[in-house]
């Protein structure tokens, strides 16, 4: 273990949960959830939720556009699916589920990463055609948010179903291949300057990185072809690979190479 | 629907069981199939002074339904929303079912014997070392006549103290004193029929729409039937009554004294009075002025015959010259033009005028005076004692008239208009009670405010409170609560639920309520209504008469109550009835009441009721040809009193810039101990609010439902604001309700009272209001 990126990452994930719970405890600096929120007076908005509201509701609220752009810019800079790796409470839970699955050794089936982009297309198409914001309706993220903020527990069954399938059938299938929000960020974060860098001559090909990476496909171009950076938008910037690399072949780059 | 022998025979088997114990059975129309096995009995409603008749449906020892009694002359089958849920008031989860005795800070269960022995020993101890005036009883206008009579006989005839008061002191005392000093007999000459027969109704400080719901619906029907009928609402607050009135006249608090005097000024100035009526029926008098407000403990104020000056009509006219309409406008805020107009209306020969009033006039530091002034209007214009043309003081409790006033459970009264100060009266009472006349003290007992202040002064050692909740309802109640909490007196409370008063009690006794016992109530229009016991009280709860008589036995006074177990109610009634016979207050034999939905006294020798008193048209005490005769007054003449304006005890100033007033809402009754147990009524109105004028609220940045802190010199309380709701006080006034036991709003009220009636003024004190 050369670095410990998992500590700040886990802290960020837990902070998000604490923020969402904070209004229940009578604190006032945070309101809302990951779809839209106020943090110390700064309005934040999920750009995908914004798109759905815009398409389906035919309303445009300029401050809302502003806060969606702000968040989009944030993830554009951090790149990839940073949201999935650092922020999303579903990510946190399925990550823990993954630990359990490994112990059980079940559900090795994987689905391709591209499916999440199709899933995004489906969501946008649905809202355009029917006015139903499909992702906001089915989103396990929203379900967790409301489970925490409003103690609305029944819909957590959806999350339980996802966990069950992920553990017994297909490894992290929701986050990897089905979540439209993941698909959205994988497109948005494709061109970020913040990337995992690879120094080929240090690599011992121990494959430790592949074992910890939730989306191991993104490492293939580097490991197989010697690409100097992980460029795929599906990278969740969890830096588990960096943590796992004994040879220090993997690092964090802040510039395009 | 009358109760006949046939009814008994026709009654079902279940009903027969009832009949066996003496409960008459009535069967509402069309109520057979759906309500199999329910036995119906008649009773007056437990709540307000209107006296609606209800049918009580009993099945399996439980009330399963109540409904308005179609045979009831007052309500013809209707009820207000409180009455609709009447039976639920008995079935709250926290009914008191066993006697409780204080052990330190805890109330522990006890047997009746333990509790009553303890009470008797405490009373004996106090009497032995401090005399009989160191003990007291505080009762209620919700007491049945039997309960009030038992209390009166026990305290006045047995223990020998006049320290007996009803809570009616807080609501009707001013009306009582004015009835007595004007007509020589308590209670109105008119009745509810006047609401159907008149054409002009002037409301002085009354919100009939909420406080007398079914009666108001009757009054409005007169308006609907006869488009010429006029309803004028004179008040300090716009209410639901205002909404249905033809005209609203805004008045400043205490402005009634000035406004009525100015109206009389115009009547006299323009010779609008009825000279012949005045000559024949009216005396003019001037009483004692510059009266105090009762704010000091033990302050004594009496208007003795030596203080009263007889006036001639001309002298009176001269004295009234000062009260010009302009002067009236300056003080009351009612425009001089309006005052002139009201004088014209009051003296309009083509109109049948009725004045109606309630707590705005009675709960007034010069309440007797305002009552007097209203009578002056009617006496000077001769608009009195005629069908459809009368002044009518509306009462608030189901038996404020029947029990508190007729039985005379006040500290100066004896049954049937008699007083303890009068030797002949004491002799008559002693005669009927079979006791030594010297046993009845000639010393007027402590009136309500003094009674509770005497606890604080440690002068009163024992008090027994029944059927009322003074530690929520009294003004400046925090002083009194502190005294009670300091255990300055031994306090017994008989009630059906835990209340703010049982909280401070040393002994709590569980009482039977309403149809859990037999009883008689008397309503506003002199209607005496009887009911039978229909269900058993819960647990060990016992009725108040039983509690008092058991106590009396322990005090060695059991001989005062020699009634048989079976004939208890009838025997006591017939004894009480002796007071009323031949003095213009005649009541009927007990059985008569079992058959009818009440009778209005004086009941004539032929058993018929009297609708209008003092007139040959209806009153058997006035001979044919006598026309109108105020036969209870010394020279058969009523008194017109000269009563000037005097300011209220406390007025708004820079520090406390608002007038504060407390009152009622339709959904809840008094301190809410019964209606508060009805979930539906709590759903409808859950708590007290503070009503403000929208402009006052806007100026202070207060929005509807904002929390507002209201502070007087005596206390402070936080309430949600209610703006543009059911009531809107005039600018500079705020109003709240006193039913909410979580908000002791009356602790803000000043404990000033009318020096003549000793009735506190809940309607006027100064507060400051701040957004909380």
């Amino acid at each position: 273990m050369s670095s410990k990126w998992w500590i700040p990452r886990r802290t960020a994930q837990l902070t998000i949960l604490a923020l969402i719970a904070s209004p229940l405890l009578g604190m006032t600096f945070f309101r809302g959830n990951l779809a839209a929120a106020d943090l110390f007076g700064l309005p934040l908005a999920d750009p995908l939720a914004f798109l759905q509201a815009l398409i389906g509701g035919m309303v445009i609220v300029l401050p809302y556009l502003g806060s969606a752009l702000l968040v989009a810019a944030f993830y554009f800079i951090l790149g990839g699916r940073t949201f999935c790796g650092w922020i999303c409470p579903v990510g946190l839970i399925t990550e823990l589920g993954e630990k359990l699955r490994r112990r059980m050794g079940s559900g090795e089936v994987t689905m391709p990463l591209t499916a999440s982009r199709w899933s995004l297309g489906l969501v946008l198409l649905t809202v355009a055609m029917t006015g139903i914001p499909l992702f906001e309706v089915l989103s396990p993220i929203g379900i967790i948010n409301r489970a925490i903020a409003f103690v609305s527990l029944m819909p957590l069954l959806v999350l339980a179903a996802i966990l069950l399938v992920e553990i017994t059938v297909s490894r992290r299938v929701w986050c990897r291949s089905l979540c439209p929000l993941g698909g959205f960020y994988s497109i948005l974060g494709r061109f970020s300057p913040v990337r995992v860098g690879f120094i080929e001559n240090r690599c011992t090909h121990c494959d430790d990185c592949l074992r910890v990476c939730p989306v191991e496909e993104v490492l293939t171009p580097s490991l197989k072809l010697g690409a100097r950076q992980v460029t795929a938008g599906d990278c969740s910037r969890c830096f588990a690979c960096v943590d796992s690399c004994h040879a220090k072949a993997l690092s964090i780059d802040l510039f395009y190479k | 629907m009358g109760l006949t022998r046939r009814d008994f025979i026709k009654a079902s088997a279940a009903a027969a069981a009832f009949a066996a114990v003496g409960v008459p059975v009535v069967r509402p129309k069309g109520a057979q199939a759906a309500e199999e096995g329910i036995t119906w009995g008649k009773a007056p409603c437990r709540y307000c002074g209107v006296g609606c008749c209800v049918l009580v449906g009993v099945k399996g020892g439980r009330i399963v339904a109540t409904k308005g009694d179609p045979a009831g002359p007052v309500n013809k089958g209707l009820n207000c929303i409180k009455g609709y849920f009447l039976s639920k008031a008995l079935y709250g989860k926290d009914r008191l079912t066993t006697p409780l005795i204080r052990k330190g800070n805890k109330m522990v269960e006890a047997s009746w014997d333990e509790a009553l022995d303890l009470i008797a020993s405490k009373y004996k101890e106090a009497i032995a070392s401090h005399g009989p005036d160191s003990v007291a009883m505080y009762g209620s206008g919700q007491w049945t006549i039997h309960e009030g009579y038992t209390a009166s006989k026990l305290m006045k005839g047995g223990i020998g103290t006049n320290n007996l008061e009803p809570n009616a002191r807080l609501c009707m005392a001013s009306a009582v004193v004015a009835f007595m000093n004007t007509f020589g007999s308590d209670e109105p000459m008119g009745c509810y029929d006047d609401l159907d027969l008149g054409d002009t109704y002037i409301l002085w400080g009354a919100n009939m729409a909420e406080a007398h719901p079914v009666l108001f619906s009757r009054l409005i029907d007169n308006k609907l039937k006869h488009p010429g009928v006029k309803l004028i609402d004179i008040a300090t607050r716009r209410t639901r009554t205002t909404k249905m009135a033809d005209e609203y006249i805004a008045m400043r608090p205490q402005g009634d004294l000035a406004a009525i005097n100015a109206i009389i000024h115009v009547i006299l100035r323009d010779r609008l009075y009825d000279e012949a009526f005045i000559k024949q029926h009216v005396n003019f008098k001037r009483g004692k002025e510059n009266a105090p407000y009762g704010l000091k403990d033990k302050e004594v104020f009496n208007e003795t015959p030596a203080d009263i000056k007889n006036l001639t009509f001309d002298e009176y006219k001269v004295m009234m010259k000062q009260f010009t309409p302009q002067w009236g406008e300056k003080i009351s805020g009612i425009p001089a033009k309006k005052i002139e107009e009201l004088a014209r209306i009051y003296s309009d020969k083509s109109r049948k005028i009725n004045s109606l009033w309630t707590m705005g006039v009675n709960q007034h530091s010069r309440g007797v005076w305002v009552n007097n002034l209203i009578y002056n209007l009617h006496l000077l214009t001769g608009k009195i004692c005629k069908p459809g043309e009368n002044p009518l003081s509306l009462t608030g409790q189901p038996s404020a008239c029947g029990t508190a006033r007729e039985v005379g459970t006040f500290s100066h009264r004896l049954p049937a208009d008699m007083v303890v100060m009068n030797e002949a009266h004491r002799k008559k009472a002693a005669g009927i009670w079979g006791i030594d006349p010297n046993k009845i003290s000639s010393k007027v007992g402590l009136h309500t405010m003094e009674m509770f202040r005497a606890i604080d002064r440690s002068e009163l050692k024992c008090i027994w409170i029944q059927c009322t909740n003074p530690f929520q309802s009294l003004p400046n109640v925090s002083r009194l609560r502190k005294a009670a909490e300091a255990r300055k007196a031994f306090i017994v409370v008989s009630d059906i639920y835990p209340t703010k008063s049982t909280e401070v009690a040393d002994v709590i006794l569980p009482s039977a309520s309403w149809v859990e016992k037999e009883g008689v109530f008397g309503n506003t229009e002199r209607r005496t209504q009887q009911w039978f016991k229909m269900i058993e009280p819960p647990g060990q709860a016992r009725e108040d008469t039983w509690q008092m008589i058991e106590f009396a036995k322990r005090m060695g006074l059991g001989h005062l109550f020699p009634y048989s177990e079976k004939g208890f109610y009838k025997e006591m009634w017939e004894e009480y009835r002796k007071f009323t016979i031949g003095v213009g207050k005649d009541l009927a034999p007990y059985e008569a009441y079992a058959k009818v939905r009440g009778l209005r006294w004086p009941v004539k020798p032929d058993g018929k009721e009297t609708r209008w008193r003092y007139t040959e048209a209806d009153d058997a005490n006035v001979k044919k040809g006598e026309g109108i005769k105020f036969y209870k007054a010394p020279d058969n003449k009523a008194n017109v009193w000269f009563r000037p304006y005097e300011p209220p005890a406390e007025s708004p100033d820079k520090e406390y810039p608002f007038w504060f007033s407390t009152g009622r809402v339709l959904e809840h009754w008094h301190t809410g101990t019964m209606t508060g147990r009805v979930p539906e009524l709590r759903r409808a109105v859950s708590g007290a609010t503070i009503e403000m004028h929208p402009e006052d609220a806007k100026r202070m940045g207060i929005k509807n439902r904002d929390k507002v802190r209201v502070t007087s010199r005596r206390g402070t309380i936080v309430l949600p604001a209610e703006i543009n709701g059911r009531g809107t006080p005039e600018k500079g006034n705020v109003f709240t309700t006193f039913f909410d036991e979580t908000k002791l709003v009356n602790e803000l009220c000043i404990d000033a009272f009318d020096p003549l009636s000793k009735e506190p003024d809940f309607k006027k004190c100064a507060v400051k209001v701040k957004k909380a």
Binding site: G56, V59, S67, W118, V127, G131, E136, L178 | -
Partner: protein, 220 residues
Amino acid sequence: MDSETTCSGITRRQFLKGSAITPLTLILAGTGVATVYLRHADAQGFTLRPPGAIAEKRFLAACVRCGKCAQACPYLSIKMAGGEAGVGIGTPVIVPREIPCYLCSDLPCVKVCPSGALDKKLEDIEKIRMGTAVIIDRESCLSIRGLRCEVCYRQCPLIDKAIVIEPRHNTRTGEHTIMEPVVRKEKCVGCGICEKSCVLPKPVIVVQKTVETQKDSYEF
């Protein structure tokens, strides 16, 4: 929901490669559940939304389910719908019989709505149109039966505007007034306080969807 089967069509290649049967099943199941949801939501007909909510169909899309309106509501009137609301899951609802809207004059819920689902142009509480109160059971209404109830009227925050009393002679007793509460549709904001306060076990006055008054040329 047909489009979701299209989605499974997209993944056919992977399916043919094998081992994708479960995800496909998952999607099918999801579609099924969602369809049931949708039907259910339709069947409910009317949901009372917070003040300023735009037309229901657009509201369902415009609302991002962030819950800020519910967090802003000082009376906890606004609740977040659960699965029973179908496509409306996570949207704000008001159940008047539990806690109605108390019409805060500063409209905190509207103020915090980020997405325009609650229209910020709304500033005057009297212009709110969440729905319209309707007396649905005249036979049971105590006031119409002649009793002095009128609780809904006295509790109405727009007393004498949105609910008025129309008195009429009670022919049954011959001497009383029936004080009938009448909803003035053009003034009713649909806050539901009347529905909350109705004393009967099933409220006889309830808030329903506001129906636009039909206009025609007939005048008299």
